[in-house]
Symmetry: C2
Subunit: 168 residues, 2 copies
DNA sequence: TTAAACTTTCAAAACTTTTTGAAAGTTTAT
DNA sequence: ATAAACTTTCAAAAAGTTTTGAAAGTTTAA
């Protein structure tokens, strides 16, 4: 397989994975493109490479910036904006975990905390089942939350080192 | 808040979380409903509770079975099929991890393994960047894969106990 | 065998999300 | 101030996903 075909395949695969995990396909593809491109690209170049419209490219690039996955670069003497991706996979994973935690896990935890408080008849099986499930999910979510928190603060070698100690 | 409202809220929240993570909203809602319901429900009852059509209920229940999250139950002397959810949150998490690993992570690993093999000019920055990103992602994915594998075999108390040892 | 009870299917409709592209907005250089 | 170069917006269109419900299929009991 040659480089251009391989690049294409990578962009496609990453896009598919993204869409299966609730990330818009185009966003994942633009990210993939920037990941395998050594230098920063303009909106125009992204549009060209992926055959997408100006509006779509612009929105997607802004989204990627709001996720902290890419950054703008200004070249001296040029008006155009160039975009490049952080290539450190560990940073990417952290960044994604951080955003999803904030956007999705936190609101769920808030609701669960409320639902755990709901009072009811301890002899009613409907109440007992509700209470147990909600409490269990709440506990697990809090564990996940705490684990993510630590992971976000951690550095890579330490993290995988520790994981390997358990999972040897 | 009273039980029926709380139940409603739980079903809604779980559905929203599901859809953000690439799981169809209705599927997550049906699962939520069965999680907080002490006894097994018929298709009819699920349709009723969530105001969904017969076709939708049937497909969703089958999907949930294929994910290993719910099971059919037959009551003696009855023709109807009853469905109930495994209420053990740890099992649920394991089951979901197992399925997603099989359905999504494995195919990606296969492609990455191919892409890592792609040969090119070591002085070409385009090739160098491609190769490095693909290799890094491949390594991280393999780590995730191995970690999941261990987690799938593990039992809950052992798992969180070990996690806490690291993340204390 | 028949028919009632129940489950499954799937094409069409409804709904949701994403994309487009032209127009409006902004910035910079002269 | 003007105009060229560039970025952003957003309503409408396209694409993708989910849901419906009626019809077909299956199972069971008598």
């Amino acid at each position: 397989m040659q480089l251009p075909e391989a690049k294409q395949k990578f962009i496609e695969t990453w896009g598919k994975l993204g869409s299966e995990w609730g990330i818009n396909r185009t966003m994942a593809q633009v990210h993939a493109l920037l990941l395998v491109t050594p230098d920063a690209l303009t909106t125009e170049e992204v549009m060209e490479e992926l055959s997408i419209s100006r509006g779509n490219a612009n929105m997607t690039l802004r989204d990627l910036m709001s996720w902290g996955l890419i950054e703008k670069q200004h070249k001296p003497g040029e008006r155009k904006e160039y975009f490049y991706a952080d290539k450190d996979i560990w940073n990417i994973a952290r960044q994604v975990a951080k955003e999803r935690r904030k956007r999705e896990l936190e609101p769920v935890l808030k609701v669960l905390d409320e639902l755990v408080q709901v009072k009811g008849d301890k002899n009613d099986p409907a109440f007992k089942t509700f209470h147990k499930s909600v409490t269990d999910i709440n506990k697990m979510s809090k564990n996940v939350d705490r684990t993510l928190d630590t992971m976000l603060k951690a550095d890579e070698s330490w993290f995988w080192g520790s994981i390997f100690k358990i999972f040897k």
